[in-house]
């Protein structure tokens, strides 16, 4: 598809920055470069490092939910002492979750994970082709693909709105955060997941801004989108874990 036309100036200055010989200018990208040493700005190495950082960050998130889960299992198994009657009783009242709405929310989140994956693949391809594009005179045609990132942001916000609806339904059924341990845990798990997902939405907005406004080289954008995508997939996985947990330990 490329057309070779020497003696033509390259249109896109960003692409030239990324692939050309001149050292790219970058501010506060957030990482250093270790062993490389060949002088080139090694995006592959940066990506690997960022992914390692993400895996470790997610380990911390997992430990947070390990804490919640063990608390849930222990709390459910405990009889509660009634000081007035001097007897033990079980105070665990199963919570009535709006399963239909939760199913819809789950579907929205899974679809968003899919669109996120499309966004990740699109930018990976674009980044791979960047060096070709930087050859003077090579054009790959107009590359305006479907706005997968934007779609993911909207779906993510849709999920959060759906969760707010779940919250309201619970309120209408008089399941408040302090009604009983089952509702306390449901609110806790939903809210903690929502906070983490909101963080993901902000990261996606940053990724979108990085491509439109900050004029970062395509490889740097790709790293942001790639990390946001894996984080997003993890959030979907975490959501499924939470739903299954609340299904089993009601």
């Amino acid at each position: 598809m490329s057309t070779l036309a020497p003696n033509f100036a390259v249109k896109d200055p960003r692409a030239r920055d990324a692939g050309g010989g001149a050292p790219p200018s970058f501010g506060g990208g957030g990482d250093g470069n270790g062993g490389g040493g060949n002088g080139a700005f090694n995006y592959g190495e940066r990506l690997r490092r960022a992914r390692l950082g993400l895996v470790l960050g997610l380990t911390a998130v997992i430990m947070l939910f390990v804490g919640f889960t063990s608390a849930l299992l222990v709390r459910k198994g405990l009889p509660s002492f009634d000081a007035q009657t001097n007897t033990y009783s079980r105070d665990w009242v199963p919570i009535n979750l709006p399963w239909a709405l939760l199913l819809v929310n789950t579907a929205v989140l899974l679809v968003s994970s899919l669109t996120m994956e499309f966004a990740r693949r699109a930018i990976t391809r674009k980044a791979a082709l960047a060096p070709v594009k930087s050859i003077p005179g090579v054009s790959l045609g107009d590359e305006r693909g479907f706005p997968w990132l934007g779609t993911t942001v909207i779906l993510g916000m849709g999920f959060l709105a759906g969760q707010l609806l779940v919250w309201r339904i619970l309120h209408e059924h008089r399941f408040f955060v302090n009604t009983g341990p089952s509702s306390s845990f449901a609110y806790l798990l939903f809210a903690t997941h929502a906070v983490h997902l909101a963080g993901g939405v902000i990261a996606l907005m940053y990724a979108a801004a990085a491509s439109w406004m900050l004029h970062k080289p395509i490889e740097a954008q790709r790293i942001v989108v790639d990390i946001a995508a894996w984080y997003w997939h993890f959030m979907a996985l975490l959501w499924i874990y939470i739903v299954v947990l609340l299904m089993i330990v009601r």
């Binding site: 506060g28 062993g35 950082g53 608390a71």
Partner: protein, 577 residues
């Protein structure tokens, strides 16, 4: 070298704010952590002094605090423990020295994620400010101890400090968790991904190993503490019952029902025990480094040292129950926790044996860092030996609520870790500030602190065996404690002298920073990579060069070498090594 600018990810800082306040340079961030910890340790020490004065002169009218009520005493105790554990013992060795020297020792230009590194420091700073704010709100600081056991910590009405003060305390801990997690993932990524060419895992200095293992412990432990903190905040403010059972306070039945105070203890100590190793492991690393350097001998059993630290870190996650023998846990669980706890004695003994093996027949140079490193070994043994006592439920149950435990954990976790920090300060000060510290003042500081801390904390073991309960604020009111008051008085005088000695340290620190003699690049004839670069190191650590590593970290007394040491970046020593 044009490419060197490219290799280093962020440009050299311009302007005061970018250079010294919101710096991305791991060296500046390390120094920021160091001074945060230095501030915190003076606050913590001041609180302990107030407690010691109150114990023997309960009627004294003190400046600032006035006459100390029993509740105030508990608030002092809580804040002393919290500030010392979190903002000194966790902050200085890892955030301070780890930040400054981990990248340089592995030949990296900076941490893996400099922006995250900066965020991590400033988040810690915010946590410290929130913690101190607890002193100034209505009711003052909380009185639930650094372990924050519910229901005392979970209800607003249990004491004067348990209102807003306790909320600030928990919030501060939660913020601190987030900061530590950021730091931990940065340390691990840096160690795994940014090592210079030739810096294999088994050529890493033991300091790097200790920071690396500490970071793994932090990554796995702080998330669980955060979860517990969130649950506790909900119990306090949203009326949930995770930790609070049905409870009557002042004749009034509160709305809580069915929660388990023991659940908090499990979650807290799952963090709390690894936290002990988070505090002490970097001290072990720096002690190994210094003993080898100043004994002019390779560290005895390098690999064994690495495996011992890994074993301590691993076992550290399986022994939290030994803090809870008093909670009425099943004797079978207690037995399992007891055995696992005593198993930690094995890697600890390996480390001690190897330290002594390193000293054996060494040509020891008794500089101040070496004195503090030997002091660390001494305190580690003295404080550690009471560990197997307390690991047994039959002994722990009578001793647990006595001064015996206070003596034990202050020697091993408090003072030993502080000696690690002092050793690191005297050892690395020339590299960090480009000047030497005064040896005479350093030695005076060492001897006074060494003898002083033993004088404070050794008698606590006797007090404990005599049945003296801990956390009591009024000793003069209790008849059976009267005979023990002279010992308490002796400890308070020892505390005065020891705290006085710390002024020598501070004067030495600041005076040397400004007026000390200029330091050479490698004043201790040491081998690791930080001593190959300029003093103090340039912004990218190596002035555009990328070090290549050819040797292990402790090549001292190498036969046939020109000097008595071979640096890690020197050409490889013979096949015999």
């Amino acid at each position: 070298m044009a490419t060197s600018e490219v290799v280093h990810a962020h440009a050299g800082p311009q302007g005061f704010i970018r250079k010294y306040i919101f710096s991305l340079d791991h060296k500046v961030i390390g120094i920021q952590y160091f001074f945060l910890a230095l501030t915190a340790v003076w606050v913590g020490m001041f609180l302990s002094l107030l407690m010691r004065i109150h114990l023997i002169w309960p009627q004294a009218n003190l400046p600032i605090v006035g006459h100390i009520q029993p509740e105030t005493y508990l608030a002092l105790l809580t804040m002393h423990g919290t500030i010392m554990v979190f903002f000194v013992l966790t902050t200085a060795p890892q955030g301070g020295f780890g930040n400054y020297f981990l990248p340089i020792q592995i030949g990296a230009p900076d941490m893996a994620f400099p922006v995250l590194n900066m965020l991590s420091f400033w988040t810690t700073f915010v946590a410290f400010v929130v913690m101190l704010a607890a002193f100034f709100v209505t009711g003052g600081a909380p009185l639930h101890g650094w372990t924050g056991y519910p229901p005392l910590s979970a209800l607003q009405s249990t004491g004067p400090g348990e209102g807003l003060g306790a909320d600030l305390w928990i919030t501060s801990i939660a913020i601190f968790c987030a900061a530590s997690l950021m730091g931990a993932l940065n340390f691990i990524t840096t160690t795994l991904d940014l090592r210079a060419k030739g810096m294999t895992l088994m050529r890493m200095p033991l300091t790097v190993w200790s920071w690396f293992i500490t970071a793994i412990l932090g990554l796995l432990a702080f998330g669980v503490l955060l979860s517990a903190g969130i649950l506790l905040l909900m119990d306090r403010n949203l009326g949930t019952s995770f930790f609070v059972p049905m409870v009557v306070v002042n004749g009034q039945l509160l709305g809580h029902k069915g929660g388990s105070p023991l659940l908090w203890q499990h979650l807290f100590w799952f963090f709390g025990h690894p936290e002990v190793y988070i505090a002490i492991l970097p001290g072990m690393g720096v002690t190994s480094q210094i003993l080898s350097t100043f004994a002019r001998k390779p560290i005895f059993g390098y690999r064994a040292m690495v495996y011992a630290m890994l074993a301590i870190g691993f076992l550290g996650f399986m022994v939290w129950g030994h803090h809870m023998f008093m909670s009425g846990m099943s004797p079978y669980s207690a037995f399992a926790f007891s055995l696992l706890t005593m198993a930690i004695g094995v890697p600890s003994a390996i480390k001690t044996f190897n330290w002594l093996g390193t000293l054996y027949k060494g040509r020891i140079r008794f500089y101040t860092p070496m004195l503090f490193a030997i002091g660390f070994v001494s305190l580690f043994v003295s404080g550690g030996l009471s560990g197997p006592f307390l690991a047994q439920p039959t002994l722990d149950i009578p001793l647990h609520d006595t001064y015996f435990v206070v003596g034990h954990f202050h020697l091993i976790m408090g003072v030993a870790a502080i000696f690690g920090i002092f050793a690191a300060t005297y050892y690395w000060f020339p590299k960090m500030f480009g000047r030497m510290m005064n040896e005479g003042l350093g030695k005076a500081h060492f001897w006074l602190t060494f003898i002083g801390t033993y004088a404070i904390f050794m008698p606590m073991h006797y007090l404990g065996m005599a049945g003296h309960p801990r956390r009591y604020s009024q000793l003069t009111e209790v008849a059976y404690l009267h005979n023990l008051i002279p010992l308490q008085t002796f400890m308070t005088y020892a505390a005065f002298i020891t705290i006085g000695a710390q002024f020598i340290f501070v004067i030495n620190l600041f005076w040397s920073m400004l007026k000390g003699p200029k330091a050479a690049d490698n004043p201790w004839d040491a081998t690791t990579v930080e001593w190959t670069t300029a003093t103090p190191p340039p912004h990218d650590n190596f002035g555009g060069q990328t070090p290549v590593i050819h040797n292990g970290p402790y090549e001292y007394g190498v036969p046939g070498a020109a000097r008595d040491f071979v640096m890690q970046t020197d050409p490889a020593v013979g096949a015999a090594h």
